[in-house]
Amino acid sequence: MRQSKPFSFLVIFWMVWSLLACSPRDQGQPGQVVIYTSVDQVYAEPILKRFAAETGIQVKPVYDVEATKTTGLVNRLIAEKDRPLADVFWSGEFVETLLLQEKGVLQAYRSPNATDIPAMYKDPDGYWTGFAGRMRVLLVNKNKINHDQTPASVDDLLDAAVPGEQVGIAQPLFGTTLDHAAAIYALRGAQQGRAFFQDLKQRGVQVVDGNSVVRDMVADGRLGVGLLDSDDACVALSNGAPVKIIIPDQTPGQKGGPTQGTLIIPNTLGIVAGAPHLKEARQLVDFLLRPETEQALVDAGWSHAPLHPGVKVGGCFKGIKVIGMTLPIREIYANLAAAQKDLTEIFLQ
């Protein structure tokens, strides 16, 4: 009887070994494409399945998660640079993609389906292309904030009408909140940008783990106002939470200044330098940059600021005309390092 235990142990060992051996690396095989994406799986997966069904090309995705604080797939791509596994990188924002371009991880490709996308959302050398924009918005809990307290600008987050502890932002060291901070730096200069965030900190604004946490806290009334992405805000609205969405800075500023507009964050696409499946990668990029794909992303609730003319916005932003910041993406990116350094000193104490 005693011999049965080690024997069973060895049989299990052998079975696991065999199963793992059935999963070899298949780099370079035709008819497949590997995509790394930081877009939520719930939005990206149906699109990729549609591509596979239309073309017969097998798609192998790797999805990022918010919990790794954007240190996941981007650093994996940099580490794999000399011998890449991925063919395409699809980011839900733009900073990661510009960083990859800077590190020499991407190669140029101008998709014929991107000709009508505005130039400010494309790299002039073709290393990346933007599409399917999201917006930074304010989510307001109607049970906590009166109509006359409702903010109309990100500057209203400093307004004493709403107590500081009722206001929430995601940790501004990472993700789209960092992008937004860099945009504010680009727009107002480093000194005023830093002052804005210092004031937020001094007001006792709640700095929480991520945009999804901001959304949940506003939705269940733990916060009155939150600054977050449009897709997060729409999820709260579609779940029936007592909230309303405000697109900030849509009117002229104080003292008749220009309309600032809100930050539009495009999804960005790039092909990895040395991609093992280049032909399929180009096909996938062309597919993702089709207006029909952008429309599908809008309909699914991921994008609310499409970049192709003719794509219709539905859902929680139906019929609303949005004024976006007119800052070039490259200029926002140029302010990123300074913003991140300041914000680390301000918020990570």
Binding site: R2, Q3, K5, P6, F7, F9, I12, F13, V16, W17, L19, L20, S23, P24, R25, Q27, V34, Y36, D40, Q41, V42, V59, K60, P61, V62, D64, V65, E66, A67, T68, K69, T70, T71, N75, R76, I78, A79, E80, R83, L85, A86, K103, L173, F174, Q206, V207, D209, S212, V213, D216, R222, D232, V235, A236, A337, Q340, T344, F347, L348, Q349
Partner: protein
């Protein structure tokens, strides 16, 4: 001559095992350390440490010490209760051990919100970490208590009251495992940013992630993580000193064949009974809070089956890779446990080898693995399902060594010596005598590594093969989307999967007991 030859073969196998451990666990870290050294030699690092960061490190260390103390106290008290029970059913309280701490945090946030209690601050963060690490501290305390030789306990109880026997004999003898649990809780707390971040508590590990995110230079992040390695080293020195004294004071342990005692006959004073009751109440909360919230959020059986159905491939991939890690960690752990038993510098190095990997942030382990394995090799490892297994081994093999050590110390070495003399072959000695005797500890090691591997995220994400993902990766992805019903269903399925594995292990474990006792 036959014995000398056998010893030579055994020494060779042991050396190969330690070499494999160093290769799998330490090579990725060594690559990072090499890059960091080059970077520092090139003039980098001048701006890396500041007063703000050192202050953050000091406060993070304080928080981690508080969490370790809390988890150890509650874990030891709970283990005293479980020690009095018999049968594998008591291991069922480890039902939610595989749940990521983040899920515990979300459950406790929901409860705090419902009660109108504050949902941020160090207190809540520490409480949730204590709850998340309680299975680890309790399991190790229980292993420690069960390793105490019954003859010594009975002799003490004849001369002194039960509580004195507990204080003067049982706890000191169980101290190695209890202290190790405490050290592990300290390290896990120190390197975790997810729970503190959710409760708006800044930590040094978040600073490392911020640095890594900003620079995308693993060498910078590695240098920033060096204080954690230093703290680990310090903890190791203190721990090893304590463990050695305990080991020496209990010489002869493991020779009587009466290692398993059970505390059924003990009579505790009233105040201790109350404390044990409080610890068990905390345990009930540890299981009940997340389970209740998860069941409530899952909503219906249809939602649960839909969540599980959609995640079939992730569930099978998780079971496969975590099971592989659970099995493959055993030879590595067995080999390293031999080093942990050595005296002097070699023994201290063994402990450092064991504890240091736990102090390195998970994504850095993943980056190190890419540097080692993403190259032309005769066998295509990179990009295959082997990479997550290697990541899991790199992160958790140390725990297998620890549990193998605990088992080795409670096993009657005279049986090994008799087998060496009377069994004709080395392989047969191992298959018929040694493995069955070591089986309970090895199964526990496989179970712990399986559970932790199933919940691993940071390193697995960096090396997962395209097109395949673990259940934890899917859970975190859906967590961001806000699909609480789906997330709850997936978490429940993970808990059920671990119960299934635990039940299988318990069945073998229970049979092993009967055979050992026969």
């Amino acid at each position: 001559m036959r014995i000398y030859r056998r010893r030579w073969v055994e020494r060779t196998c042991h050396t190969l095992g330690v070499a494999a451990y160093i290769f799998i666990v330490f090579l990725p870290l060594a690559v990072l350390a090499g890059r960091a050294a080059v970077w520092l030699a090139g003039g980098g690092g001048g701006d890396i440490f500041s007063l703000r960061r050192l202050d953050l490190l000091a406060r993070s260390t304080g928080q981690a010490l508080a969490v370790a103390a809390g988890a150890t106290l509650l874990g030891t008290l709970a283990a005293l209760f479980l020690w009095r029970l018999h049968g594998a059913v008591r291991w069922l309280i480890f039902l939610l051990a595989p749940l990521p701490p983040y899920i515990h945090a979300l459950a406790w946030m929901a409860i705090a919100a419902a009660m109108g209690a504050p949902q941020r601050g160090v207190g809540m963060s520490a409480w949730v970490q204590v709850m998340a690490f309680l299975p680890l501290s309790t399991a190790l305390a229980l292993v420690g208590l069960e390793s105490v030789e019954s003859g010594l306990v009975e002799a003490a109880r004849l001369a002194r009251p039960d509580f004195t026997a507990l204080r003067r004999v049982v706890l000191p003898l169980a101290a190695p495992a209890i202290l190790t649990g405490s050290g592990l809780c300290f390290l896990l707390s120190l390197t975790d940013y997810s729970v503190p971040s959710l409760f708006q508590v800044n930590t040094y590990s978040l600073e490392i992630f911020s640095e890594f995110s900003a620079s995308s230079l693993p060498e910078r992040a590695f240098v920033l993580a060096l204080p954690l390695l230093l703290l680990t080293g310090l903890a190791t020195l203190l721990l090893v000193g304590g463990l050695r004294r305990t080991a020496e004071s209990s010489s002869g342990r493991g020779r009587s064949g009466q290692a398993r005692q059970g505390g059924a006959a003990f009579e505790w004073p009233g105040w201790l009974t109350i404390l044990i009751g409080a610890a068990m109440a905390a345990w009930l909360a540890q299981v009940g809070a997340p389970l209740g919230v998860l069941i409530a959020q899952t909503g219906s059986w249809a939602q649960f089956s839909q969540s599980v159905g959609e995640a079939r491939s992730e569930i099978s991939f998780t079971l496969l890779t975590a099971a592989a890690a659970g099995l493959l960690c055993l030879p590595l752990g067995l080999a390293l446990s031999g080093e942990l038993m050595q005296k002097g510098l070699r023994g201290r190095m063994g402990w450092l080898l064991m504890l240091a990997p736990l102090a390195v942030p998970a994504p850095l382990v993943g980056i190190g693995l890419i540097a080692v394995w993403n190259r032309d090799l005769p066998v295509a490892v990179y990009g295959s399902a082997w990479m997550p297994v290697l990541a899991m081994l790199a992160r958790f093999s140390a725990l297998a060594a620890l549990l193998a050590l605990a088992q080795a110390r409670r096993t009657d070495v005279r049986l090994f010596e008799a087998a060496d003399i009377f069994q004709p072959g080395l392989l047969k000695t191992w298959l018929v005598v040694r493995l069955p005797l070591l089986a309970p500890g090895l199964l526990a090691a496989a179970g712990v590594v399986f559970v932790l591997s199933a919940g691993e995220l940071g390193a697995t994400l960096i090396v997962a093969p395209p097109g395949q993902a673990t259940l934890t990766m899917r859970i975190y992805n859906y967590l961001h989307y806000g699909a609480s019903g789906t997330v709850a269903g997936l978490c429940l399925s993970m808990a059920l999967a671990s119960v299934g594995m635990g039940a299988a292990a318990a069945a073998i474990f229970g049979r092993g007991r009967v055979e050992d006792g026969a």
